[in-house]
Amino acid sequence: MTPLQRRAILLAPLGVAAVGGAGFWVLLDRLREGTYDPHGVPSVLIGKPLPSFSLPGQPPGQGFSSADIVASGKPAVVNFFASWCVPCVEEAPTLDALQQQGVPLWGIAYKDKADATARFLDQYGNPYLRVARDEPGRVAIDFGVYGVPETYLVDRAGIVRWRWAGGLSDSVVKQSLAPMLKDLA
């Protein structure tokens, strides 16, 4: 090893630290400006039309397609859920409350067996207008679902306006979803 190479190797840790530090500096700056939110992983779908799909229904109900949602002519909430997911159980009361306020909820059971979904809806209530089944999970991929539960707000024209990854809670509804619904109504 020549002395120059040795010097270069000894300088490497400083270089790594400097790059890391500079990166953190930029992020802190964006955090202060408000252009960076570590908690938000926004959907690329926002402002774009609903991906087109057509899914079979949860028996005995009938399924739905993206066209059905647009044809309903009202702002709609599309909720991905699964019987095997804990936050889905936790958000059930919130969804119930939304349904009672007359918000049309369209449920998509993600990677779930039909009888498991049926049991889930039996136990925790069925707040949905219709429940479709996405057992292979392909429609979820088109939506860019990050994990269940995940909720999308679609306007009258079928444009995705808002997305929430994770369980809905009353405070999320109050702070984000309800104002959005009011704007679109």
Partner: protein, 653 residues
């Protein structure tokens, strides 16, 4: 009045720390014995000032002085006394003050216990510690003053986050911080060695006990944190690869590597440059982890009150401490003498392998933790989850565990692999038997591998002792005599390695856990994992500063009653927050774990888990820390007198 006294003591500590930074370093540079001799007194003085400041903060909390902003925001007159005291470090300002206090204690202990150090080295170590103290104290004084007053004072405080009102979390931060900050001492030794331009065996011997002490505390702190997450958060998991958790794992990995490479410096005078870099790296990871978590940059489930303005101060401070030490490293490390030579197959070789693997794991975890940030910089949003960490860390642990048992039976300088493997044949056999029978019985490859690795680690640790006492090769009484004569550090390393085995067994067992979420009516029975869980009833109870909804669940196993569980939900009125209180019953071989969820009419949602071997995870970590403590109790470690060392060197290694 008392808060002002605390504020004054804090300001005084800044002044003393400044003196502690300048006088000894200048004295060591000018070879002025009087200036160098001032170091211990200054370090002790700084500690006294900070003990006073912290005492004042506790006093304000205990006497419910809500005119202090920090107390008003985080305490409440109804809060139990224990949490009034521990609440002082449960928030940003108080925890920074505690951090400074521990750093000052580190400096003072070098002053008190480091009397045998060469005076210039001691002066430099204390000076470097004074430099870091000075930075963090200035931060505490200017950006996060815990004694700031509030006028008019509120009638009562806003109370602490209920999740933190828990005995486990009460002692977790001081232990964890002591671990983090403890690595400041090896760091100071590294910087001092760079300033001196000399690293020798004696340096390695002085650094090791400090590293070991910090490592023991960090190990216990991480275990406590993981245990708290397990029983308090009620998610049934023990490690979530969350940025805050990774922030504690990173220095642990680097610190473990440092612990082992310092042995090579002490025994063989090799790996000097590397050890210096590791000492700097470990403390840098401690600092960046804990402070960047608070800047609000990272997305974490554990929320701290974040303030980007504070982040800028911290980043500047980190740049000064880390950047400065690495700059020094770049220019001075080449002056360190050439390393001693050794063959790849040798104790040193095994320790180098250990370092490579630990640092690889560290790099992998660091990449996963910071990748979302750097992806953000490059314009894309993503998050890195447990699947990444599991699939990248797991393959690296395989050779690490293999080397952990093999390394200690190799001899220094050069060794033969075959005889070493021969000494471990029974450990390998036991591991294979356990692994194969687990694979057949469980039909899962990963847990079976985990159990095999656990047996390999525990028996491998035993094999080292067996080898040292020449069991069955010399008469038994002779062997027992040898056993009694083994230095404590040998016991320590064997115990620590076995502790890792216990933890690995716990993790393997935990991967077989079963759980269910059910909605049940009162009187209904659910079956899970061979146990029958019956919901007997639900009722309300009042606590000191909360009301609880308590359920009674009878658990039986084949008709035999295991116990009545009382998982509950606690509603904290002041904070308007609900916390689940998990019911856990353990018999050390498995945990039964019940959480009460929402209620709907006459049905309640219950989450039930059966977690095999779960307690072993934390038990193993405590065994590891105990091994470290045992090693620390070794006389050679504490005194490191050269004459004694020569005698010890004749003990077959």
């Amino acid at each position: 009045m008392i808060p002002e006294l605390g504020h004054f003591a804090l300001a005084l500590a800044v002044v003393i720390a400044t003196a502690q930074m300048i006088l000894p370093l200048w004295g060591a540079y000018r070879r002025d014995a009087r200036l160098m001799a001032s170091a211990p007194a200054l370090a002790i003085g700084q500690m006294i000032a900070l003990v006073t400041a912290y005492g004042c903060l506790i006093w304000s909390a205990v006497t419910d002085d809500f005119s202090v902003l920090n107390i008003a925001e985080n305490s409440n007159s109804l809060k139990p006394l224990l949490y009034k005291i521990t609440g002082t470090w449960g928030n940003h300002e108080g925890s920074i003050l505690l951090w400074c206090l521990i750093l000052a204690i580190c400096g003072a202990s070098v002053g008190v216990f480091g009397r045998r150090l060469p005076s210039s080295l001691r002066a430099r170590v204390i000076g470097v510690l004074g430099f870091s103290s000075c930075g963090f104290l200035l931060f505490a004084l200017t950006e996060s003053n815990p004694f700031a007053r509030l006028w008019p004072p509120p009638v009562d405080g806003r109370d602490m986050n209920p999740l933190l009102q828990d005995p486990g979390l009460a002692i977790h931060p001081p232990v964890l911080y002591a671990g983090y900050v403890g690595f400041a001492i090896p760091f100071a030794f590294a910087v001092a060695a760079l300033l001196e331009g000399r690293v020798d065996a004696a340096w390695g011997r002085w650094v090791r006990p400090w590293t070991l002490a910090a490592w023991c505390l960090l190990t216990s702190g991480i275990a406590l944190g993981s245990w708290w997450a397990y029983y308090e958060l009620g998610w049934g998991g023990y490690w979530f690869w969350d940025p805050v958790e990774n922030a504690s794992l990173l220095p642990w990995l680097a610190g473990t590597a440092l612990l082992h490479s310092a042995i090579v410096v002490e025994k063989r005078e090799a790996l000097k440059t590397w050890t210096i870099l590791l000492a700097i790296g470990t403390f840098s990871l401690s600092l960046s982890g804990t402070f960047l978590v608070r800047s609000g940059i990272l997305n974490s489930v554990h929320s701290f009150a974040s303030d980007p303005a504070r982040g800028v101060f911290i980043l500047g401070l980190l740049a000064l401490v880390i950047g400065g030490s690495l700059l020094l490293f770049a220019f001075r490390a080449s002056k360190l003498s050439a390393p001693g030579l050794f063959a790849p197959i040798s104790r040193e070789g095994a320790l180098v392998l250990n370092n490579i693997l630990l640092c690889s794991i560290c790099a992998v975890v660091l990449t996963g933790t910071t990748y979302p940030l750097f992806a953000e910089l490059l314009g894309s949003k993503l998050s890195v989850g447990p699947p990444y960490f599991q699939s990248t860390v797991f393959p690296l642990t395989v050779p690490l565990f293999a080397a952990m048992s093999l390394g200690p039976v190799l001899s220094w300088k050069r060794a033969d692999l075959f005889p070493a493997l021969l000494r471990l044949w029974w450990a390998a056999l036991a591991a294979a038997v356990v692994g194969i029978s687990a694979a057949v019985g469980l039909r899962h490859a990963l847990p079976a591998f985990g159990f095999a690795a656990a047996v390999w680690l525990i028996f491998g640790a035993l094999a080292e002792l067996v080898e040292r006492i020449r069991l069955f090769r010399v008469p038994l009484s002779n062997s027992l005599g040898r056993l009694a004569a083994q230095p404590l550090s040998v016991w320590g390393s064997a115990v620590a390695h076995a502790g890792m085995g216990v933890t690995v067994a716990g993790i393997a067992g935990m991967s077989l856990a079963v759980s269910t979420i059910v909605a049940v009516k009162v009187g209904q029975t659910v079956e899970l994992g061979g146990y029958e869980w019956t919901l007997l009833g639900l009722h309300d109870e009042a606590g000191e500063n909360y009301t609880a909804r308590v359920s009674d669940i009878r658990v039986t196993c084949g008709g035999r009653e295991i116990g009545i569980f009382h998982p509950s939900r606690r509603m904290f009125a002041v904070q308007k927050q609900t916390v689940t209180d998990t019911a856990i019953q353990t018999n050390l071989l498995r945990d039964l774990y019940a959480v009460l969820g929402e209620e709907r009419g006459d049905t309640a949602v219950l989450r039930l888990h059966v977690n095999p071997l779960a307690p072993w995870i934390w038990l193993g970590a405590l065994v590891m820390a105990a091994g470290g403590a045992l090693s620390l109790a070794d006389r050679r470690m504490r005194i490191g007198a050269p004459a004694r060392r020569r005698r010890a060197a004749t003990v077959p290694a």
